[in-house]
């Protein structure tokens, strides 16, 4: 659909290198913050609210997410970029509905995972982070989870690239694994910034672990390990249902889907050629 412009200059290799550097820095900021928080947590949680950990968690994860957005956003083709608001709206409409009800799930990543499957890991990561940033205009409590959302988008894109959406039964498995990683990474945010979870049902699960004497981070991590894998398995399944229900013409509009043969039922080389001939 989008072709390289003939009249406008294309980005230089130096700019590409700078973006690569920003991407790596963003990933390092998120990973470093997580490792620091997990190593330092035992002494800190009883230190009272607003302890240094909350600020480190907030700033480290946010800086990482913003760096990722800055690195990825300018490289996306316009056809992917216009899909990001659509994904954000799907996240918000479906997530706002489930978030406060009595189900220990969130389902707030359907749009992000959809973009990741159609347009790849980089677009998925940018959508996840942007989704949290824009959503925070309505609900500021989702802002700290930007890094976790970016990770979910990136992992969903990688799963799609390696063919996990080609078989219908593999999609929930990929979602389950993504949920484990995403939940473990987001748990310190819930523990240090919020001192708990924002939903009632998830709060009840955390309480159960706390009553057995777990530390707050351990209890929230265990809760995340119960809720998140199931949640992401449901989300990945719903996205698989959606993607296969889209007409072939719409699916093949996306170069990522064509190039990596993300979905079953089309030969890579032949349909890529046919689609570029018709699409660009």
């Amino acid at each position: 659909m989008s072709s390289p412009s003939l009249t406008l200059e294309s980005p230089t290799p130096a700019a590409a290198r700078k973006r690569r550097l920003l991407e790596i820095l963003g990933a390092l900021a998120i990973a470093g913050t997580y490792i620091y928080l997990v190593l330092n947590q035992p002494a800190d949680i009883t230190g009272g609210p607003g302890s240094a950990s909350a600020l480190i968690a907030l700033s480290g994860f946010l800086v990482g997410a913003v760096l990722l957005v800055v690195a990825v956003l300018p490289t996306l083709p316009v056809s992917t970029l216009v899909l990001i608001p659509v994904a954000l709206v799907l996240n918000i409409v479906l997530g706002q509905f489930v978030g406060s009800t009595l189900v220990p799930f969130y389902l707030d990543a359907i749009g992000t995972v959809l973009i990741a499957v159609l347009a790849g890991p980089a677009a998925g990561a940018a959508t996840g982070a942007l989704s949290s940033i824009v959503w925070s205009f309505f609900n500021p409590t989702v802002l700290p989870f930007a890094a976790g959302a970016a990770l979910i988008g990136c992992l969903a894109g990688l799963a799609a690239r390696h063919g996990l959406f080609r078989r219908f039964y593999l999609a929930p498995v990929a979602g389950f694994l993504t949920g484990i990683i995403g939940g473990v990474v987001s748990a310190p945010i819930a523990a240090f910034v919020f001192g708990g979870t924002s939903g009632l049902a998830t709060g009840a699960i955390v309480s159960a672990f706390r009553s057995m004497g777990d530390s707050l981070l351990a209890a929230i991590t265990k809760q995340a390990l119960i809720s998140d894998p199931m949640d992401k398995a449901i989300v990945f399944t719903l996205v698989a249902v959606l993607v296969y229900a889209l007409p072939r013409r719409t699916r093949l509009q996306f170069p990522f889907v064509r190039r990596h043969r993300v979905l079953t039922g089309q030969a890579a080389g032949q349909s890529a050629g046919a689609a570029t001939g018709q699409g660009s």
């Binding site: 659909m1 989008s2 406008l8 009883t46 230190g47 009272g48 609210p49 607003g50 302890s51 240094a52 600020l55 700033s59 957005v69 800055v70 956003l73 300018p74 996306l76 316009v78 056809s79 216009v82 899909l83 990001i84 608001p85 659509v86 954000l88 709206v89 799907l90 918000i92 409409v93 406060s100 959809l114 942007l130 824009v134 925070s136 205009f137 309505f138 609900n139 500021p140 409590t141 802002l143 919020f194 001192g195 708990g196 979870t197 924002s198 939903g199 009632l200 709060g203 009840a204 309480s207 706390r210 009553s211 399944t237 719903l238 249902v241 959606l242 229900a245 889209l246 007409p247 719409t250």
Partner: protein
């Protein structure tokens, strides 16, 4: 005086950061009171109340339930039923954390309810932030109300065709498919059309742009923003310097 959108964003952000860093109950309560006064003065109290209740009631209830009943680190026990123990420390922790989170949430909500989105978009693109971020922000904020009405219309249409949501996982999944597929399909289709239109107008181009919308940015507000950001940075630095003070 009308605030530049970036000034109100900076004010809200630095207030949220400073209340988090200070972690003192009186300061959090003062911020909450100030936000309540400002929203009354600005005439947005109804929208604020609805949005804040939707976010904060589950959050605060969950915090009090969690820490009020189960706080293994607490020592002064007020009451206990089986494994649940109400401790002074737990209630204190829940109260402080709730006040602090409410202050941050309210301040940011007030900012997003009083800010003018077109001004914010114009200000962001004028200051060298990539036009793409501004596009995503503005496009989402305008799509959102349109989509909620469209979703209602799709549900009505499908119900007219015989959609009845019944119990059972597979039935629910089928109902989801009936409603979500037309929605996603139309959105993706529209996005494709929009991409072509935007590209034809040089959206992907780099280089200088002109804007129809001029947002005035008085030098006083520019200095104010610098002061606010420095104050927030100082509060964070102070907290990291003395991690346990005031806690």
């Amino acid at each position: 005086m009308r605030l530049h959108p970036l000034t109100s964003l900076a004010a809200a952000g630095s207030t949220a950061i400073m209340t988090t860093a200070a972690a003192s109950l009186p300061l959090s309560l003062a911020v909450i009171a100030a936000v309540a006064g400002l929203s009354l003065a600005g005439g947005v109290e109804r929208r604020m109340l609805a949005a804040a209740a939707g976010i904060l009631v589950p959050l605060v209830a969950s915090l009090f339930f969690l820490h009020g009943l189960f706080f293994p680190e607490g020592s002064v026990v007020l009451a206990h039923w089986g494994p649940a123990r109400v401790t002074v420390e737990g209630l204190q922790f829940a109260l402080e954390r709730s006040a602090q989170l409410s202050a941050a949430v309210l301040v940011l909500l007030l900012c997003s309810f009083t800010i003018s989105v077109p001004d914010l978009v114009a200000a962001l693109s004028a200051r060298g932030v990539h036009a793409r971020f501004a596009f995503v922000l503005a496009s989402t904020l305008t799509l959102l109300p349109a989509i909620t009405t469209r979703l209602a219309r799709i549900r009505q249409a499908q119900e007219a065709r015989g959609l009845v949501i019944t119990r059972g996982v597979f039935r629910r999944m089928a109902a989801f498919r009936w409603q979500a597929v037309p929605l996603v399909l139309s959105l993706v289709e529209e996005a494709g059309t929009r991409a072509a239109a935007l590209e034809a107008r040089g959206f992907g181009a780099t280089g200088p742009r002109t804007s129809y919308r001029e947002v005035t940015d008085p030098p006083f507000q520019r200095r104010l923003r610098m002061v606010l950001l420095l104050a927030a940075a100082a509060a964070v630095a102070l907290r990291l310097w003395q991690p346990t003070a005031g806690a």
